[in-house]
Amino acid sequence: MTEIPKEEMLLKCPSTCAGCGSLLALRYILKAAGKDTVLVIPACCNSVIQGVYPYMLHTVPVYNIAFAAAAACASGMSEALRAKGEKTNVIVYAGDGGTADIGIQALSGALERGEDFLYICYDNEAYGNTGMQRSGATPLGAITTTTPNGKTVNKKDLDRIVEAHNLPYQATACSSYPADIYNKVKKALSIPGPKFIHILAPCPPGWRIPSEKTVEIGKMAVKSGIWVLWEKEYDKFTVSAPSRAAMKRPVPVGEYLKAQGRFRKVDEKTAAVIQANVDKNLKKIALEAAQSEETE
């Protein structure tokens, strides 16, 4: 961790809500990426919090683009830069809505073509910027303004969707583990071709938690196994340290749910379904990790 540069790449202070997980994550992403970087940002909280014309808080170029369009914009940018012989990092920073819903077509296309860029989705599990409507990534049972009784279908499994594109590097992360983010971004940027990192980013207004709890809740997500940190480099799949520890004895997911206002309408039956989903997924991940180790 000592290697993380002290220099901040964001000036004070983006106008995120107090305690925003997506901002915490971005701090470390930019530290890892460094100055030779362009950020591409579709409509999302991060398109609004970056400062108001004529000012911005980022010390790297930021290209804002339409909601559905991030991966396509990065494709064009990366191809143009490479055609010019420049190796500038092209990094998309997009919300879960802009990634899993309206932006998935552009993302899927760019991955298939093998564009050279890093796509980072910060996942606050709702449309934060427009005031917390459900997204495809909203988890089962969560209250949003368009699911006032709680969402009735499961969270879209963005990671498996992306994984199906066989990219050279893919990882999950969580804003509560900044060093892990830093390392994963560094690793990703060292590999040519498309890379994807999916960061769970707790969001106080959306999750209906006090602003001081974001880091804590993120850790609970990992400890309960509802969010697993892993990375996949070509075929090598590794569970990251915090999740390796957590998977040994995950805390009940009920605690995670109870800590958040958005889950307040989850009944016991739904809670059991959520726990079962987590258990099943942990098993799958353990198996995958084992298989990956084997083949090495």
Partner: protein, 176 residues
């Protein structure tokens, strides 16, 4: 037409206060509109809302630049915002405070410790005292609308009787 500008912070309920003010005036048989100025603001950032009260339908949508009255729900916004901007000569200022606040001469200044009242009435949500219902009581005292209409506007919005109690306390605290 009577024009009021309300200064508060995102999350403090300034917009709801504006709505209840307009609603109370309508119940008095007046015409009124309430209108937030929306920016891309987050919780905690200073915001303004507008209320217009008139005897005829209100047809103006643009912002209020020369208000008759300023309502300051959160005195801390004065650190960064010139709350008196455009206030008409002889206009009124209502401020939520327990301190003495100095304003330039030429304005009528009213005050009540709405935060104190809210704390006393235990009108606290997520750790924050609620000031947007007591302010309705205070403004009724200033004659913006009748006490009855103010109460109705509150009860239509909030079921909890602590709201009306707080409004009543504010009504009594303001000195006209």
């Amino acid at each position: 037409m009577y024009e009021i500008r309300i200064h508060s912070r995102g999350g403090q309920g300034g917009v709801t206060a504006a709505r209840m003010m307009a609603s109370a005036a309508v119940k008095d048989g007046k015409f009124a509109t309430a209108c937030p100025f929306y920016g891309a603001e987050r919780r905690g950032a200073p915001i303004v809302s507008f209320v217009r009260i008139d005897d005829a339908p209100v047809r103006i949508y643009s912002q209020i630049n020369k208000p008759e009255m300023i309502v300051i729900l959160d005195p801390t916004v004065m650190d960064t915002v010139n709350v008196l901007d455009g206030l008409k000569e002889g206009g009124s200022i209502f401020i939520n405070t327990h301190d003495d606040v100095d304003f330039p001469a030429g304005f009528k200044v009213y005050k009540a410790d709405l935060t104190g009242i809210a704390l006393r009435e235990k009108l606290v949500v997520a750790g924050s005292p609620i000031v947007n219902t007591p302010v309705i009581g205070a403004l009724a005292k200033l004659g913006l609308f009748t006490r009855e209409s103010g109460v109705k506007a509150i009860t239509e919005t909030f079921a909890d009787p602590r709201n009306t109690a707080a409004a009543k306390a504010a009504f009594e605290e303001v000195i006209v």
